[in-house]
């Protein structure tokens, strides 16, 4: 880390290979689009390189680069004027059973519902439910009040629940999670 802070590109390349997979996973879950997630990752990594001399506490690197990534995701959304129909291709050759068809429909509904949520709310939802970060940490990471983090999570959950109440609900309740 110290070598990278001092401008050693080789040292930073090692860091990049350690963090790029989890960062991309987060970006993809927030943006729900492969191309946008790749661009967000690239921009975040380059910005992290530029800003690295400003990072005083190496122990904060992970939270620091997560913050950069989330802001890069915000920028990607602003830059893309419209969402493409990049609905995830579900791993089925064709539903063989009614339950399977319901599960597919439910997950498709989740995908669409999630895309309708503002990106700031999506980010909090992903940081909380995918990374497992407590709201207090999310607030600190994003430099927002804890109440704001809580309300973003609340509205994200509310948005998903509202979108899912209806025909997809029974499938989600009845299907196995794993």
């Amino acid at each position: 880390m110290e070598r990278a802070r001092r401008g050693d590109r080789e040292a930073f390349a090692v860091l990049v290979h350690q963090v790029s997979d989890p960062l991309y996973a987060i970006a993809h879950r927030i943006l729900r689009d492969t191309g946008l997630a790749e661009d967000a990752l690239q921009n975040a990594l380059v910005l992290a390189w530029r800003r690295l001399p400003h990072l005083r506490d190496a122990d904060r690197f992970e939270a620091w680069i997560h913050r950069i990534l989330v802001h890069a995701c915000y920028d990607e959304v602003q830059r893309s004027r419209h969402w493409t129909a990049n609905v995830r291709v579900l791993p089925v050759d064709g539903p063989a059973m009614p339950d399977e068809a319901s599960a597919v429909a439910a997950r498709d509904e989740l995908e669409r519902a999630f895309r309708r949520i503002p990106v700031e709310q999506r980010a909090v939802f992903v940081l909380h439910h995918y990374l497992g970060l407590p709201l207090v940490e999310i607030a600190e990471l994003l430099e927002i009040p804890a109440g704001t983090a809580r309300s973003r999570l609340h509205y994200a959950t509310l948005g998903l629940r509202t979108a899912l109440i209806g025909e997809a609900a029974p499938a989600l309740e009845e299907g196995r999670l794993a």
């Binding site: 880390m1 401008g7 590109r9 080789e10 390349a13 090692v14 860091l15 990049v16 290979h17 350690q18 790029s20 997979d21 989890p22 960062l23 991309y24 996973a25 879950r29 191309g35 790749e38 661009d39 990752l41 690239q42 921009n43 990594l45 380059v46 390189w49 530029r50 800003r51 001399p53 690197f61 992970e62 950069i68 802001h71 890069a72 920028d75 830059r79 995830r88 059973m97 339950d99 399977e100 599960a103 997950r107 989740l110 995908e111 939802f125 439910h129 995918y130 497992g132 959950t157 998903l160 899912l164 109440i165 997809a168 609900a169 989600l172 309740e173 299907g175 196995r176 999670l177 794993a178």
Partner: protein, 405 residues
């Protein structure tokens, strides 16, 4: 979908399904751009990301970048992985030309990452090599020969990297495991090597490769390391040299098992378990009394998420054997995300042998065991979580007499 926890579990499961590996082109494009980007010093800049040239369309430049940048990856041994608590690894043995086969054929940059879903470690490898995940778990008494299916194998045309891991026996020390592995040879005489901050041993250092090697006439290197309750074995054979082996090992990250410093007792399902205390416990609110779906709201204790543990139990219906119940339960998995579970492996929980479903380790692993007329189901969602679940299961106490229903 009126219950938030049910929604959240479904959403977490859905979030888990996304990609976990960054496309090489994205990383390479960033590294390429960094080569010509200066760091900022003593200036204040806003957080906003300034528009940059798009990733798409950089493919040709990235290829050139790989040639320029990729080579450095294999000669720099990373320190401890980000966020982990291991001690930093010592400096690598530098090889100006990077890893090279003993016959002189260079091995490309270790630009891709392989994650062992069964064993939880990661290693980087050349982009033109192929991977074959282990199909069964290595355990005491099993020999993980090449082709046994117990090793993850990463193959080039004339060289191969293999990896496997097993949990130490109850009460077994690292020294005892190494002695058993050495089968009469004294492990203390083997050269040491550091793997992800753990001091291991090289028990085969360039000896002629045994039968079954990927490249007859080649050599073989074998290293072992014990990290907590897990022993790891990494091997290379074929047209390889020591520098190549070390270059691969320098990229290995071992699974980090968090301290199980919290304790939870399920008053409804009748068991106790230790877990990372930072994880949030949500106790079941009602017993599991029928059916085969443990994801119904409130019938499972849940601890943490991503990874997230869930545990529950059900009293077997009168006159129904565990085998019969389990067969139906097993069949019910066919409707799940990962489809049917074609195989399981034995797992011992509180002295009782049960079934460990490892057919979908990228999403979850699940143990089912019978005790006191109850079927217990414990699962851990998340990618490559088998080592953590095994560690948690080793702390489980089954108390079917205390279960409710």
């Amino acid at each position: 979908m009126t219950d938030d926890r049910s929604l959240e579990r479904a959403a977490r499961s859905w979030l888990e399904e996304g990609p976990t590996q960054a496309p090489d082109r994205a990383v390479e494009a960033a590294l390429l751009q960094i080569q010509t980007t200066r760091q900022e010093r003593d200036v204040t800049i806003p957080w906003r990301v300034s528009p940059m040239f798009p990733l798409r369309g950089l493919a040709a430049a990235a290829v050139i970048g790989v040639l320029a940048i990729g080579g450095l990856i294999v000669i720099v041994r990373p320190g401890s992985n980000v966020g982990a608590t291991r001690s930093p690894a010592p400096s690598a043995t530098s090889s100006p030309s990077g890893p090279a086969a003993s016959g002189g054929a260079a091995i490309g940059p270790l630009s891709k990452t392989f994650t062992s879903q069964l064993y939880g470690y990661q290693v980087r490898y050349p982009a033109d090599w192929s991977t074959i995940a282990a199909t069964a778990s290595w355990s005491a008494g099993k020999t993980n020969n090449w082709g046994s299916g117990l090793n993850d194998e990463i193959r080039g045309s004339t060289a191969r990297f293999s990896g496997a891991s097993m949990r130490l026996g109850a009460g077994q020390t690292a020294d005892a495991w190494l002695r058993a592995y050495g089968a009469g040879s004294d492990p203390s005489t083997w050269p040491t090597i550091t793997i992800d901050g753990i001091v291991g041993r090289i028990d085969a250092d360039g000896v002629p490769a045994a039968g079954g090697t990927i490249s007859p006439g080649g050599r073989m290197f074998d290293a072992v390391a014990v990290d907590g309750p897990y022993a790891f074995n990494f091997n290379m054979d074929g047209n390889v040299d020591r520098a190549t082996f070390e270059a691969f090992l320098a990229t290995v990250t071992l699974p980090v098992i968090p301290a199980l410093d919290g304790s939870f007792t399920s008053s409804i399902a009748g068991y106790s378990i230790r877990y990372p205390s930072a994880w949030t416990v949500v106790a079941a609110t009602k017993p599991w009394t029928s059916g085969y779906d443990t994801s119904h709201a409130g019938i499972s204790d849940t601890i943490g998420f991503s990874p997230g543990f869930a545990g529950t139990s059900i009293a077997l219906p009168k006159g129904v054997s565990f085998a019969t119940w389990y067969a139906t339960y097993d069949a019910s998995r066919a409707g799940g995300t990962c489809g049917a579970a074609p195989k399981t492996e034995p797992v011992t929980i509180d002295g009782i042998v049960g079934e460990l479903d490892v057919h979908c380790p990228a999403l979850y692993v699940e143990a089912v065991v019978l005790a006191g007329g109850r079927a217990y189901v414990f699962d851990l969602t998340g990618s490559a979580q088998r080592p953590l679940l095994l560690s948690m299961l080793a702390t489980v106490k089954l108390t079917p007499g205390t279960a409710k229903n």
